[in-house]
Amino acid sequence: MTPDNPSGAGLSPASEAELAALIAERFAARLPLRIAGGGTRVETGAVPGELMSTAAIGGVVTYEPGEMTLIARAGTPLDQIRAMLAAEGQALAFEPADMRGVLGRNGTPTIGGVVAANASGPRRLLAGACRDHLLGVRFVDGQGRVLKNGGRVMKNVTGLDLGKLFCGAHGTLGVLTEVALKTLPHLPDRCTLGFHGVTVEEAVAIFSAALATPFEVSGAAFRDGSAWLRVEGLGPQMTYRRDRLLALLAPREAEVLDDAATLALWPELRDLAHFAGADAPLWRVLVKPSDAPAAARALQALGGEASLDWGGGLVWYCGPGTAQAVRQVAPHATLVRRGGLDGPAFPPEAPAVARLSAGLRHRFDPAGILNPGLMDS
């Protein structure tokens, strides 16, 4: 068990009220807390303070398939939500990854953790990120106040959208206790087109061509010399899209994976099975898709391996290189698995942006007790 695995020890309030009382106490005493859901997504080992998990604040509040709306408490296991949605033919369209393999963890991923990390898998390309599906939040701020923002409906412009801030804030602005998310129909038919023996440049060219079509490619990833396109649809829609894409990309030869093979492949790509079980640093790099080949080659020159997702918009790099060396070729790199590297995990912000972010943190967490330094060190 790793030292910052929350399933082993630490605080675990059983309700929102308990959580609020606990944070109010820590606020008064100026004592930091290391916040986690299931502790499966982010390495918080360097954050000072006692570990506190929201895993015990769980349970689905409401799920209305006809409204495409789910409200769940933060500690609800992601698997429970997936199963419940699947029974109604729906899913979280942003396809959050399971990072346990990559980070060597054995906790239980929670929906609160998904939102706090804005965790978004291959389908982000088509469906948007977690942030795009978040309808509302309840949270406890750094003073122990229970607050809410947004709601449960899809169109809502009432006041400032604080949900966007919380999605990807990794618990630094407040601790999520409840999230409302949009669910979407799970398209019943799917296949994958595989292009083998291609360079990273060719892969991005394939992605760019496929993504300029109206065929709603829902995954475009590259690893080990193979580029993969996922095609989904309703009945004849899928086969039509598949055939049009094959024609467009001809004379390139493509392997066509069937439904079962597609269902097996994409979770592997999503969860970075190819970089699991290793100790080397793992970097997540956001780039303009057309810059992906150059970024991937420059990173590989440091001695490791790179793979692509989001049609090239996301480059993963696993391998050696100092933080400085990696950020020199990829300024927007986030360190996901430290592999022995120290220093900030998140890329530095421009001074004016950093000042705004600091101003916001100060207002949500005036004593600086919520995951201090995780995002802004």
């Binding site: 982000r124 809410k148 899809m154 006041g159 989001w310 998140f346 916001l360």
Partner: protein, 484 residues
């Protein structure tokens, strides 16, 4: 002037008007500053025309640098700033105060970059919504958000209000299609948020700015996500003899896995007005749904067959398919002329609340009861797929007290939306129109934290004054800001 109060202008600022205008003229081109009362009157209101007040001056910059220069002057001289796009807000989001300077984005009209390989367009934010899609048409792409004012409204206004449109059921609203923003802060400092990458990397400040109604800064340039045009689109029209069963049909379509791009709803009052005005040939029934699906001809046929099956189980009075472009246009004709048709019946105010889709039938029934209580007629025409309602309350502007009665009726409807689990505004924004209802949706501390966020961006509280937050709730923040 009716129910919604605006703070009285700051006499000290009014007294310094000549110096303020002179300072703006010092840093901006001659034609970019307007202070002649004859000319500033053109900016005295937006599309919420019952409320009017000419500003102290209007600034019409052409570049981010000019916006920044104007903001810097206003910050230094402590003059309130009212950001303005095309002025099409239905919520009074661009209503000036007499002591304010309007900074309008109308002349920021450059398309900066179209990059289909990366599926983005970069524009100055004074371009109109429709012109963005028009620019993209030769490349086979489009920009998805399509508010009904899209001919006139600007991207700046779309970002400020997080605008939606009829097609957002499938494609999302502005925030889901905005990737980067150049923002001028109240101090005149310029920050770049987001960009062509699929961020965010730190806190999602761009997501916060989108929909903030000019409370946090002015967006001068934007990177927008663009999408390949669908091969085709076709609507079907389904008539029902009851609101409840129409609402059930919406929920069943959504559950089925068919995801239409739009599901529009019109009630009997609206249908009769539309028939009299546009002769669209709509059935005479309690409710009509227009459902549009996209794809290749075969894909469309398949989806329409599914919808026919779903609707058929609910005994519709009519199920009308469009087999060609003319028939498709005929189906949309009435819906698109709905607002014009209602205008022929008299004056109206257009509301904009959202309710959970499952609450649509109950909400419609209650709106009918409120209509009888208030003695004013109401028509319902709205985006049913996402529960975004637009009740139109009919009144007579020449009849003393009628506007106030209509506003009171409207407020009751919006309270109802919140009571059934929805919200005060789905796409028009709070502005001044719904400002005083905010306490209905948000408890004191929930509003406080939003005002704390505003305070972090705008410590002097100069940006878009007296909007969004109830005046009594914001009073202590404003007083503290004035003392800084």
């Amino acid at each position: 002037m009716s129910g919604i109060a605006m703070p009285s202008p700051d006499a000290a600022i009014l007294a310094r008007a000549p110096q303020i205008v002179a300072a703006l003229r010092d840093v901006l081109p001659a034609d970019a500053v307007i202070s002649d009362p004859e000319e500033t009157r053109a900016y005295e209101c937006d599309a919420l025309t019952a409320y009017r007040c000419p500003p102290l001056a209007v600034v019409l910059p052409r570049t981010t640098e000019e916006v920044a220069a104007a903001m810097r002057i206003c910050h230094e001289m402590r003059v309130p700033v009212v950001p303005r796009g095309a002025g099409t807000s239905l919520a009074g989001g661009a209503l000036p105060t007499a002591d304010s300077v309007i900074i309008a984005t109308l002349r920021l009209r450059e398309v900066l970059e179209i990059d289909t390989a990366n599926r983005i367009i970069r524009v100055q934010t004074g371009v109109t919504n429709l012109s963005v899609s028009a620019e993209l048409e030769p490349q086979g792409f489009f920009y998805a958000p399509d508010p009904s004012s899209q001919l006139a409204c600007t991207i700046a206004g779309n970002i400020a209000m997080n605008s939606g449109g009829a097609h957002c059921l499938k494609y999302g609203v502005t925030t889901n299609n905005l990737m980067g923003a150049t923002v001028v802060l109240t101090t005149g400092e310029v920050v770049e948020l987001g960009g062509p990458e699929m961020g965010p990397m730190g806190l999602d400040l761009m997501g916060l700015i989108c929909g903030s109604e000019g409370q946090l800064g002015i967006v001068t340039e934007a990177t927008l996500r663009i999408l390949p045009r669908p091969e085709g689109a076709r609507p079907v029209l389904i008539g029902f003899d009851g609101a409840e069963v129409a609402g059930e049909c919406v929920a069943r379509i959504i559950r089925s896995g068919v995801l239409p791009v739009a599901i529009e709803y019109m009630d009997d009052v609206c249908l009769r007005a539309v028939e009299a005005f546009a002769h669209a040939g709509y059935p005479d029934c309690a409710a009509v749904l227009i459902v549009e699906v996209e794809g290749s001809p075969a894909e469309i046929d398949h989806q329409i067959a599914r919808i026919r099956e779903i609707a058929g189980a609910l005994n519709p009075v009519e199920f009308r398919e469009s087999r060609n472009a003319d028939e498709a246009m005929a189906i949309w004709k009435g819906r698109k002329s709905a607002f014009g048709a209602m205008g022929r019946l008299g004056d109206y105010i257009c509301l904009d609340g959202t309710v959970p889709v499952g609450q649509l039938p109950y909400t419609l029934k209650m709106i009918g009861e409120l209509s009888r209580q208030h003695g004013l007629e109401v028509a319902n025409v709205f985006h049913a797929g996402d529960g975004n309602m637009h009740p139109l309350i009919l009144f007579n502007a020449n009849k003393p007290g009628d506007l106030e009665r209509a506003e009171a009726f409207g407020n009751d409807i919006l309270r109802l939306c919140v009571d059934v689990g929805g919200c005060l505004t789905g796409e028009h924004g709070v502005g001044i129109e719904k400002r005083d209802l905010m306490g209905k949706q948000y408890d004191g501390p929930d509003l406080e934290i939003q005002m704390a966020v505003k305070d972090a961006f705008d410590p002097r509280w100069l940006l878009n004054p007296a909007k969004v937050f109830p005046l009594d709730a914001s009073q202590s923040w404003r007083e503290e800001a004035a003392a800084r």
